[in-house]
Symmetry: C2
Subunit: 150 residues, 2 copies
DNA sequence: TTAAATAAAGACAAAAATATCTTTAAATAT
DNA sequence: ATATTTAAAGATATTTTTGTCTTTATTTAA
């Protein structure tokens, strides 16, 4: 057994965040981004990306439209959409709330052996994700301060 | 598509941490803990746990002995074994080092859109795991301050 | 030296995540 | 109306992770 390649988020979730950021960077009101365009932009498998976008539409983070000039756009104000919402939509909220050791009966009063140590980190993570919104991220990408690609 | 149940660590990794803690709580020098005992103590599938323990033995976090009164024991000083080492052995170190968005070309100079925000959290997580040792954890379990079970 | 107890190793099975392909539905433009 | 474009939905395939079972190797004790 070599080791598992566990990361912070699932691949689906990473594609979701990337896709949302990509769509958010587009000049608004102009035109929707199609599946093909998105998948190419974020370097993700097209059909799998489609499934993920569907989920984001279901969770009302994206709007979609069929037909010519159809595609996806951010639903609502990018300023109010957080990374936490995107992650919650795809990966669920166990990353925010689940016991690090997977124990059922883990709580403040009945803490698992790493409960308090992880709580601080988790609160940090949660707080950061709740306060990081799409608009800010997209602005920095558009200003060339951070990058979705090379 | 309902959502994925992504957590911080893989199940294998959680079993590993639990197992290491359990073994560390046993009075030292006395006797080794057998597979069956460990799996029962941490409520994990026995055969799968065996594979995980093998990996921990390979990575020199545990010693094992076959035959009657065989079993597993912590290799070396529990004071110097950190959660980071256990996690690294089973889940690898992508959780410490990998880009949150899975981008190949993500670095300080060429940061992905969430790089800096996540860096702080990741450093927090890494620091915590590197400074949390088995001995301290086991002591608190033995003192009834934290719990592996109900 | 043999039987029993144990972990190691390897083959296999099941479940979940990732990925693809095909069909359907809806929108647009001609 | 019809053809075209697009997303949605559903079926299927692949890979990874999780889990089990069987055989082998090693140790202990009788």
């Amino acid at each position: 057994m070599s080791c598992i390649k566990e990361e912070m988020f699932s691949k689906a979730c990473k594609y979701a965040i990337n896709a949302m950021i990509y769509v958010a960077t587009l000049p608004e009101g102009v035109q929707r981004a199609g599946l093909k365009e998105i998948a190419q932009a974020i370097n993700s498998p097209e059909a799998f990306t489609a499934k993920i976008l569907q989920q984001l539409v279901r969770d009302e983070l994206l709007n979609s439209a069929k037909g010519p000039h159809g595609g996806f756009e951010i639903q609502g104000d990018p300023n109010t959409i957080t990374i936490a919402q995107i992650v919650g939509s795809i990966d669920g909220n166990l990353i925010f709330t689940g016991c690090a050791l997977g124990l059922e009966k883990c709580s403040e009063d009945h803490p698992c052996p790493v409960h308090h140590k992880f709580k601080a980190v988790r609160d940090h993570l949660t707080g950061m994700m709740l306060t990081t919104n799409l608009k800010d991220i997209a602005t920095r990408v558009n200003d060339g301060i951070s990058f979705l690609k090379y």
